[in-house]
């Protein structure tokens, strides 16, 4: 594949995780592995009502129980918070009202679990039950008891978006072909293996220290400061190893603040480990959604317009919801040129666990609907699904009608690789009944251009380096490795630029006292933004080393080149100095060397309302082909093989990129074939890993990863994201493969065997054979 021969020593190879030996030996430390002397156990009392007005919470008996150090209720910390500054609507504990089964009513810190549980049982809550709103459609109009006062016009609508670019009605009027697809998507959740957990300690020097399983330490830091009323510099946030996040550890979460509040309350360290049911109830997973999409095309298959609407079930809080509402529309804008676009999106509060950001946030459900519609359109046109997509592909250095700046795209190369490697043309509509092949494509942002919290003038990432006489290089950055391998990439970039061995580089665990701000692991921003900041910091450190090498060799720095652990004269390689010689020479002037690098994304985007949503310094692209088999008698189906062609620019760590693609395919398949947050009314019915159906190893197909990206002009060493974009294409690839197998369209997810069987039976009853059956 392209770029197999790397001009770099380390980058572009398969780099095992630097902390791998700690993880495989059980020595990596996750938050629950830490302890403190005199540690208290924190426990939460959760609301049994979906919607209720709190009349009183009597904690007097609980306070007196043995072992109980503190009991906390909402009124002490009424300051609202939320991940987006424009929609602060959460409180650490319920104040006045509870809005879903699982809302936190009270918290206890006690000497042990049993005492804490007994104290919770002794808390008396008097509440007036209010109407529950589990169906977002009910909340579209005025309701008797809006869930939040900020709902639009007495409704439960949290955010409404109207966008219109070009002239959609005119486009439909002149269209030769139109397709309409409506889809309903169940909510899904992250189901990371490490449960949510926080430990906090307030010390007599007036400082608060918080260890938490978070993917965005900086936003947690801010929320703690705002709600607890403590200046940022008096709070220290540490991120130990994190056991997966996928978006579910990106909001500052109420239990994190409550844990810290209990530590303040007691003056003792407190640990709060959520059980699995609580993790499901905390949710912030992918929004249950209903999409309605009309596509217009001309006689040759050029796309003319999308007319799209979405009703999005937000659950009890805003979370990332304003972004979600925009994303469900604007992430329809690639990987094809769509000259006219209209979108109406509404995100509605319901009395259910909050929805939020989950891997490929806002881009997954709408992508499924689009790619299903395009498969139908290709069939109408009598055109190969590949031809249709090639004809409409956004070219490099183009602009979407929503003013997204597309710089690099290797989407055509993705299509070509997936088509050839899968033998698509020999198989499509030609495999026997019950066997099928399908294409699904996608794109995703490589880092949101808009940092949530500051003006674009402040960098989204800063990296500090320190090289001391031992020859080791300490790297400080608040980026959050949650398993995706960002620590390894950070170390590899530093080692690459300086020419040193990888083991010289030590990535210091995130600690807000010493780690310069990076805004965390979300929006697939880390490789791009941290990578650029790390490169700049490393180049600045290298300049100091080369200046010293110049002093030692007499040759100007620009004639020196970097070799492994050595800086030598380009035209006289026998003349040179070792890394350590250069380092020690440079230290004569300043002691330990330091360098800093930062990344700020360039100005971009339009000026219309919501123009920033979806802008990114680069985009990844994907074309996946899936081959599937269906047992027509039972409806059971299996995905046999996936050819995953992906454009992440230059892959900097092939091992990690493959891992992201394989893991994304597994997660996307889960949403396709069975994962679903099931509710009766507002009550979550399956809050366990047994009843929430994640695909087993036996259900995982063989995956052939095809990395075909060309270098991105602004990405670090040409790289773009590979953490979220790899998810979106698998769902429609499988859906379209099932259609090819049995001639039945599936618009709603998940697709369970009973639905497949019913579809096959319906088709049989209609007497419309498929591939002769």
């Amino acid at each position: 594949m392209a770029s197999e021969a790397s001009p770099y020593r380390l980058l572009g190879t398969r780099i095992p995780y630097i902390e791998g030996p700690l993880k495989v030996s059980g020595r990596a430390e996750y938050t629950d592995d830490l302890t403190r002397p005199n540690l208290l156990v924190g426990r939460l009392l959760r609301s049994p009502w979906p919607h209720a007005r709190l009349r009183s919470i009597d904690v007097s008996a609980a306070r007196k129980m043995p072992g109980v150090a503190a009991v906390l209720t909402g009124e002490k910390y009424p300051t609202t918070f939320g991940v987006l500054p424009i929609t602060h609507d959460e409180t650490a504990l319920a104040v006045g009202k509870t809005r879903y089964i699982g809302d936190i009513l009270a918290a206890v810190a006690a000497s042990d679990e049993l005492s804490a549980e007994r104290a919770l049982a002794a808390i008396q809550v008097d509440a007036e039950v209010l109407p529950e709103y589990s169906d977002p459609h009910v909340g579209l109009g005025a309701v008797a008891e809006p869930i939040h006062s900020r709902g639009l016009n007495g409704s439960n609508i949290q955010k409404e978006v109207h966008q219109h670019f070009g002239d959609v009605d005119a486009a439909f009027a002149e269209a030769a072909h139109t397709v309409r697809v409506r889809g309903t998507f169940a909510g899904v959740t992250h189901a990371f293996t490490e449960p949510l957990v926080t430990m906090a300690e307030a010390t007599p020097d007036g400082r608060l220290t918080v260890w938490s399983a978070t993917q965005v330490p900086h936003y947690l830091h801010r929320a703690l400061s705002e709600v607890l009323g403590i200046p940022l510099h008096r709070i220290r946030v540490l991120k130990p190893e994190v056991g997966g996040g996928f978006g579910g550890k990106s909001d500052p979460l109420p239990h994190e603040i409550v844990c810290a509040a209990l530590a303040l309350e007691t003056g003792r360290p407190v640990k709060m480990l959520l059980d699995r049911e609580d993790v499901f109830l905390t949710n912030h997973g992918r929004h249950p959604t209903q999409n309605d999409l009309r596509v217009a095309a001309d006689a040759e298959g050029h796309l003319l317009a999308y007319d799209l609407s979405a009703v999005i079930d937000g659950g009890a809080w805003s979370s990332f919801g304003t972004v979600t509402t925009y994303y469900n529309g604007v992430l329809a804008m690639g990987p094809y040129r769509v000259p006219n676009f209209r979108y109406h999106g509404r995100r509605v509060y319901t009395t259910k666990p909050p929805s939020g950001a989950m891997r490929a946030h806002g881009g997954t459900n709408v992508r499924y609907t689009i790619e299903t519609a395009l498969d139908e359109l290709a069939e109408k046109l009598g055109m190969s699904p590949f031809e249709l997509r090639m004809k409409n592909a956004l070219p490099p250095n183009s602009t979407t009608i929503t003013q997204f700046r597309i710089t690099s795209t290797s989407f055509l190369a993705c299509l070509k690789a997936a088509r050839e490697r899968s033998g698509f043309d020999e198989k499509f509509r030609k495999l026997p009944y019950g066997r099928g092949i399908g294409l699904g494509c996608g794109f995703y942002i490589s880092g949101s251009n808009s940092p949530i919290h500051f003006t674009p003038k402040m960098p989204q990432c800063t990296v500090h380096l320190k090289a001391d006489m031992d020859g080791g290089i300490a790297v400080h950055c608040m980026q959050a490795d949650i398993g995706q391998g960002s620590n390894t990439l950070l170390a590899a970039i530093v080692a690459e630029v300086l020419g040193v061995q990888l083991e010289r580089v030590h990535v210091v665990p995130v600690d807000s006292d010493v780690s310069p701000v990076d805004i965390g692991s979300y929006s697939s921003r880390v490789t791009f933004m941290m990578g650029n900041a790390a490169r700049q910091a490393s180049e600045r450190l290298l300049a100091l080393l080369l200046a010293a090498a110049h002093e030692l060799t007499g040759y100007p720095a620009k004639q020196l080149r970097v070799r492994e652990e050595r800086y030598e004269v380009a035209h006289r390689p026998e003349v040179g100095v070792s890394y350590l010689e250069a380092l020690h020479k440079a230290m004569e002037h300043s002691g330990a060397l330091q360098a800093s690098g930062a990344y700020t994304s360039p100005p971009m985007g339009g000026t219309h309302k919501g123009a920033r949503a979806g802008t990114a310094p680069a985009y990844s692209f994907a074309a996946y082909v899936a081959e599937a088999s269906v047992d027509a008698e039972t409806g059971f189906f299996a995905v046999e093989k996936v050819w995953a062609a992906f454009d992440c620019g230059r892959p900097l760590n092939r091992l990690a990129v493959e891992g992201q693609i394989e893991g994304s395919i597994h997660m996307g398949l889960g949403q396709f074939m069975g994962e679903s947050m099931n509710y009766r009314g507002s009550r979550l019915l399956n809050p366990s890993l047994l009843e929430y159906k994640i695909p087993t190893p036996q259900q995982m197909p063989e995956v052939e990863v095809l990395l075909v990206g060309a270098d991105d002009p602004e990405g670090p060493f040409g790289a773009k994201e590979a953490g979220e974009g790899p998810l979106v294409a698998i769902l429609p690839a499988v859906g379209n493969a099932l259609y090819d197998a049995v001639g039945v369209r599936f618009y709603d997810l998940p697709v369970t065997p009973d639905k497949v069987w019913k579809g096959i039976e319906r088709r049989r009853a209609e007497g419309t054979p498929w591939k002769g059956t």
Binding site: E19, D32, E194, V242, R276, P697
Partner: protein, 155 residues
């Protein structure tokens, strides 16, 4: 409930201590012995993160009373790890990218060590079946299966 003496072996070392009857093996390991390599992912027998070997058999320690270890041998990830370097299964997991967030990894390694002891050259299907009680949300199992096959001489 009563507390009684428990006699067992943990990672090759004899252990004698008084343990309440209702004490769960996972709590004994993590809280009492501070063997924190064994992970608590669900406490319900649904994730496999707490897998240890009980007389060599993969066992969910969150569903097992500490008492069940009476007179038996408990092996945790700490017991698999040599004093120097890594066990071949551990090395394969690192080199082949079979660990991402790592939270599931100790459980997978213990399951794999037991599989490879009984079936030194497992097929892909045998590996998939053996690990199907362990949840990994990061890797899609692809590289985990590859790592186990590599140790077993397959590919």
């Amino acid at each position: 409930m009563a507390s009684r003496p428990l006699r067992t072996r943990v990672n090759g070392t004899a252990l004698e201590r008084t343990v309440p009857d209702e004490r769960i093996l996972l709590d004994l390991l993590r809280e009492d012995l501070r063997l924190t390599g064994t992970k608590r992912g669900c406490d319900l027998g649904t994730c496999g993160c707490c897998t240890v070997l009980l007389d060599g058999r993969p066992t969910l320690s969150c569903l097992t009373l500490a008492r069940s270890a009476e007179g038996r041998e408990v092996t945790t990830i700490e017991g698999v790890t040599p004093a120097e370097g890594l066990h071949p299964v551990q090395r394969a997991f690192v080199e082949r990218g079979a660990t991402q967030c790592g939270f599931c990894t100790p459980g997978f390694i213990l399951t794999s060590v037991a599989l490879l002891r009984d079936h030194p050259h497992p097929s892909r299907e045998e590996v998939a079946r053996a690990i199907s009680g362990n949840l990994c949300r990061c890797t899609g199992y692809t590289k985990i299966i590859e790592a186990v096959l590599a140790v077993g001489g397959g590919k």
